[in-house]
């Protein structure tokens, strides 16, 4: 159809009964014409293409791809049917990846800042000058302050080589937002209690699950393609869906039961569920006996959390809580309590995460059909590398799981006895955020460390993709950090508000134009997948690995990038794993087949191997390690903020065809939705004279505000407003995204989870008025 009204019916001509084919037999038409008309038709043709394998980079699920090219350019992105992340499907964003490569405003040449930082005046320079300058400035900082004065913040296309470069440089301060801004509390909860990190590419037996209790987790719009498909299949196979969300999302429309739970109170509901499951003996007794410790202690602690206690807090009826618990028990262990993907919202996300893990554990879902399977790993050795002098944690391939290898770190705050610097963001550091993941770090705290220059000076910054403003909620800190460092170099494919502040811009080739290090993952199958370029890098861009190698060579760190090319590195690793680059390029992915005995040990007479960070070989419902630190109090419910009469909870989330703060500038995805709108219930809307499409002003308690159009809908609670994340860009170089909608990140809260150090973004309370 036309998405614009391009035809005007009033100028249509009418054909009467002589319409169509009969007109062509009108006498007088030349017979030659008739012969031509009756000739075979010449419809559209499918043009020839070549194909390579890859994996997507629009979001972090990383679906397996096959990319078709013609005349030296990628023309269509298809799914790789063999890849366990997506089994051949590709979402709208993935299909729109072509427009990342062909964006007219993508970063094309190395640029050097002229004028004030952030002013936007640039000069095109050569790669040599860009790399020379970068190396020189970084070494200057190293000489004056030490290697730990360099921070790397990544959230881009395969940032792995940047991490390696930074670790080689000698700093521990490398971070990605995934832990501190997103999955930290829930991955950590699973890790602490079960010794199994469950995050990243989750290992859930969705097709066979019979009961989804979803605390948010808007799986149909916060897309993880293979996971979403698995869930859709599970639902088609008869799973019951009970969905909790202040907003009636698409997932809600597919739920059997929907509860518009009061925002931030999920923890209360979950504690009440645990209370019922324990008191009415709905748990898996055998599983508890064999694999779990701490049951009695937990029972004591949850007695006060009755359904009647939870009802006024959550607005979920007590009788429903009791009923749901019974229903789940009847379907256990093929049940799953689904955490939201991003659990950084309430002032006690860690407690919420723990309750989710506890409930799942009580139902014995681990290692069972319809529950959580045990993944297999395709072992691909890392290349031989020299020691990393100062890095306190290495980044390993873990298929999306966080790596929790914790080296011994004594109590000294900034440095240990051997002079190794602790992470500036305090992740994994005793006395600061000891249980936060020391590999991914706390990105929010890293920004703060840079802004405040505490606990020690950070004077140089490398960013690899990402948008520190729109993925964070305290612009002042970000801005201060960017203005404070002596030197900032940004590698990225697209321009954005953060890399606008760079001193040197390094234009990266997009994921369609490069090789990258291997994707090593664990599903039922173990797998390793390759990313191959579908075309040569456009303009004057270079792939991340090459950039990092060329920087390393200039800083005498070449030993950490010993190969001449990324292809050589790939071949080296694959040969060590018994394969080769040539072999994997033929098929795109190498797999160890699924093994039900390994994936579902408890269904096949096997045992669950558990090792918690606390050292227990059983699941610790109240982890001893947390008790030692006093962090077990996270399990207790903490009262959450409530809006005044004229305020709303400020919530944000996803839609299927946008993600992060990058797709808003992609012409194809922007075409599906150009700006975000503010979801508001008809009752408060009417009270404020707000009608559908009206421009409204939304203001938070700090006085931050924005103007946005209203969507008046019954699909949101009366005390809550919602907007899709990632809009409200103000970088004019983002010519499609600029000025569209409002930045949720500039209205969301900046609070820090007291135990994990991750951010709490859902505490913001706002007013809405018609403009």
């Amino acid at each position: 159809m036309s998405t614009q009204t391009h035809f005007d019916p009033s100028r249509r001509a009418f054909l009467g009964a002589t319409a169509g084919g009969t007109a062509l037999t009108i006498a007088g038409l030349p017979s030659q014409a008739l012969a031509r008309i009756n000739a075979p038709h010449d419809p559209e043709k499918l043009k020839e293409t070549t194909e390579v394998f890859g994996f997507c980079d629009m979001c972090y699920w990383r679906c397996g791809l096959k990319i078709r090219s013609r005349d030296g350019k990628a023309v269509k992105i298809d799914g790789n049917p063999e890849h366990p992340n997506n089994w051949g499907v590709v979402c709208g964003k993935g299909n729109a990846g072509l427009m990342v490569a062909y964006a007219p405003n993508r970063l094309k040449h190395p640029m050097k800042r002229v004028g004030k930082r952030g002013e936007g005046k640039w000069k095109q320079i050569s790669w040599d000058e860009a790399l020379d300058t970068t190396a020189k400035e970084l070494l200057k900082v190293k000489k004056k302050y030490g290697p730990q004065a360099l921070a790397l913040i990544g959230h881009g296309s395969w940032e792995k080589p940047y991490h390696r470069l930074a670790h080689a440089f000698g700093t521990p301060n490398t971070t990605s937002p995934v832990f501190g801004l997103c999955c930290g509390p829930r991955g950590l909860s699973n890790m602490m209690i079960m010794g199994r990190n469950l995050t990243g590419n989750e290992t859930l037996d969705l097709e066979n699950c019979k009961y989804f209790l979803m605390m948010g987790r808007n799986i149909t719009e916060s897309l993880h393609n293979g996971e979403t498909l698995g869930w859709v299949n599970g639902v088609a196979n008869g799973a019951k869906v009970v969905y909790f969300d202040p907003r009636y999302s698409i997932t809600a429309s597919k739920a059997d039961e929907y509860y518009a739970i009061r925002p931030l109170t999920d923890h209360a509901f979950l504690l009440a569920m645990i209370n019922v499951v324990i008191n009415e003996e709905l748990y898996d007794k055998q599983f508890i006996a064999e694999y779990v410790v701490g049951f009695d202690e937990l029972k004591q602690r949850v007695q006060k959390y009755t359904p009647e206690w939870a009802e006024p807090i959550t607005e979920v009826p007590a009788k429903d809580i009791r009923r749901l618990a019974k229903e789940m028990a009847a379907k256990a262990p093929s049940v799953f309590v689904y955490s939201p993907r991003r659990l950084t919202r309430s002032s006690n996300d860690f407690g919420t995460g723990m309750s989710i893990t506890i409930l799942n554990t009580l139902f014995g879902v681990w290692g069972r059909k319809g529950g959580v399977f045990t993944p297999q790993k395709y072992k691909v050795p890392e290349i031989d590398l020299p020691e990393f002098e100062h890095a306190t944690a290495l980044r390993n391939d873990s298929g999306g799981d966080f790596n929790y290898e914790q080296p011994e770190i004594p109590l000294a705050h900034i440095q240990d006895e051997s002079g190794k610097y602790h992470r500036a963001d305090g992740a994994g550091v005793m006395g600061r955020w000891p249980i936060a993941n020391a590999q991914y770090g706390l990105t929010n705290e890293m920004w703060r460390a840079m802004a405040e220059q505490k606990p020690y000076p950070i004077r140089a910054l490398i960013t690899a993709g990402g948008n520190g403003f729109l993925n964070s909620t305290n612009y002042d800190i970000i801005r201060k950090a960017l203005e404070t460092v002596d030197f900032y170099v940004a590698g990225d494919v697209i321009p954005n508000e953060m890399n606008m502040y760079a001193d040197i811009l390094l234009p990266e080739a997009s994921y369609l134009e490069r090789y990258d290090d291997l994707q090593v993952g664990g599903a039922r199958e173990g797998y390793v997948a390759v990313r191959m370029p579908a075309m040569k890098p456009l303009h004057d861009t270079r792939d991340a690995w090459t950039i990092c190698k060329q920087l390393a060579d200039r800083m005498e760190l070449g030993a950490y990038f010993p190969h001449d090319s990324i292809k050589e590195l790939l071949d080296d690793r694959l040969k060590k794993a018994g394969s080769s680059l040539a072999e994997i390029e033929k098929v795109g992915i190498l797999k160890i087949p699924a093994d039900p005995a390994k994936n579902f040990p408890l269904d096949h007479g096997g045992k669950l191997k558990i090792k918690t960070p606390g050292g227990s070989t059983k699941a610790e419902l109240i982890p001893g390690m947390l008790k030692q630190m006093g962090y077990d109090k996270a399990l207790d419910y903490v009262e959450q903020v409530r809006p005044n009469e004229d305020e709303f909870h400020m919530t944000f989330g996803r839609i299927g065809f946008h993600t992060h703060a990058r797709t808003q500038d992609n012409v194809w995805t922007a075409d599906l939705m150009r700006e975000n709108v503010l979801w508001i219930h008809p009752e408060p809307a009417t009270k404020r004279g707000i009608k559908e499409g009206d421009l409204v002003k939304v203001t938070d308690r700090k006085g931050r505000d924005g103007e946005i159009k209203a969507k008046v809908t019954a699909r949101i609670r009366k005390d809550t407003i919602f907007m899709v994340h990632g809009f409200g860009h103000w970088d004019k170089r983002m010519t499609t995204a600029y000025g569209q909608g409002v930045a949720d990140s500039d209205l969301a809260s900046y609070a820090v989870d007291p135990h994990v150090g991750s951010m709490s973004m859902g505490l913001s309370l706002v007013k809405v008025e018609k403009v």
Binding site: Q4, E44, K76, N95, T220, Y248, A252, S253, F657
Partner: protein, 246 residues
């Protein structure tokens, strides 16, 4: 047995991710402002509860396609297996077929100046591939195949579940696109509608006699244009192509 291609859309599986829309755009180089397929999101309130339904849509490749009737040059045609296709060598871009379609599936492509619409990915299916939208669909909500083949997935699904089509009393032209809604009623927003001045081969309201003359004149012009274009284009067609019977 002759094939009868149908598209099935399971609205319960559909998640409105728009993968189908973007995949189609990429596959067929659709210019901005237009699309061959779409997903309509309909929301309303029922018994105090919000409700949402999702409807993937495209050309329905109707058994009794009014676009073919409306086309003066024969560019719009129906293949034996049911596909309603477009011969862009003949198409003159007169746009008479556009309002003829009650599903609003047809539009004039400003780049080629010929009509574009969903073709069930005819060039792909003729090579044994799935339509692009079907292949990419995240929820596997789109299923395509030959309903005359008893072993095909579409046949099995058509038997297993209850599928409906977008037909009304006014518009009942045999669409080959089926929808599964788990028993929910079809909302009005997705139903086909006749345009005010829809071309259907039946007598139309002509406002004044001068209009009739103008129309006649236009008819000849369009026909003439269509035929001239046809002749011009076909002059390039090699004779070997003419050996097949239509």
């Amino acid at each position: 047995m002759t094939k009868k291609y149908v598209m099935l859309a399971d609205t319960v599986r559909c998640i409105n991710c728009k993968a189908c829309v973007v995949a189609c755009r990429a596959e067929w180089e659709t210019p901005m402002g237009y699309t061959r397929d779409w997903v309509k999101e309909v929301e309303w309130v029922q018994n105090d509860q919000p409700k949402v339904m999702l409807f993937p849509g495209r050309c329905q490749h109707c058994d009794d396609a009014p676009c073919i009737e409306a086309c003066p040059s024969g560019a719009a045609y129906k293949r034996a297996d049911g596909l309603v296709l477009q011969d862009n060598c003949i198409c003159s871009g007169c746009e008479l077929c556009v309002p003829a379609c009650p599903y609003e599936a047809r539009w004039l492509n400003p780049v080629t100046n010929t009509i574009s619409k969903c073709t069930f990915c005819q060039p792909r299916i003729d090579k044994g591939l799935e339509p692009a939208c079907v292949q990419t669909c995240v929820g596997r909500a789109l299923i395509f195949g030959d309903m005359n083949d008893q072993e095909s997935e579409v046949s099995k699904l058509l038997k297993e579940k209850e599928w409906v089509r977008l037909t009304t009393d006014e518009v009942n032209i045999g669409p080959n696109h089926y929808y599964y809604t788990a028993g929910e009623a079809l909302p009005d927003e997705v139903m086909p509608k006749l345009h005010d001045r829809h071309l259907s081969g039946k007598t139309m309201e002509i406002v004044n006699p001068i209009g009739a003359i103008a129309i006649g004149g236009m008819l000849l012009t369009f026909l003439g244009a269509g035929v001239m274009k046809l002749i011009g284009r076909r002059n390039e067609v090699s004779t070997s192509e003419n050996q097949e019977e239509k």
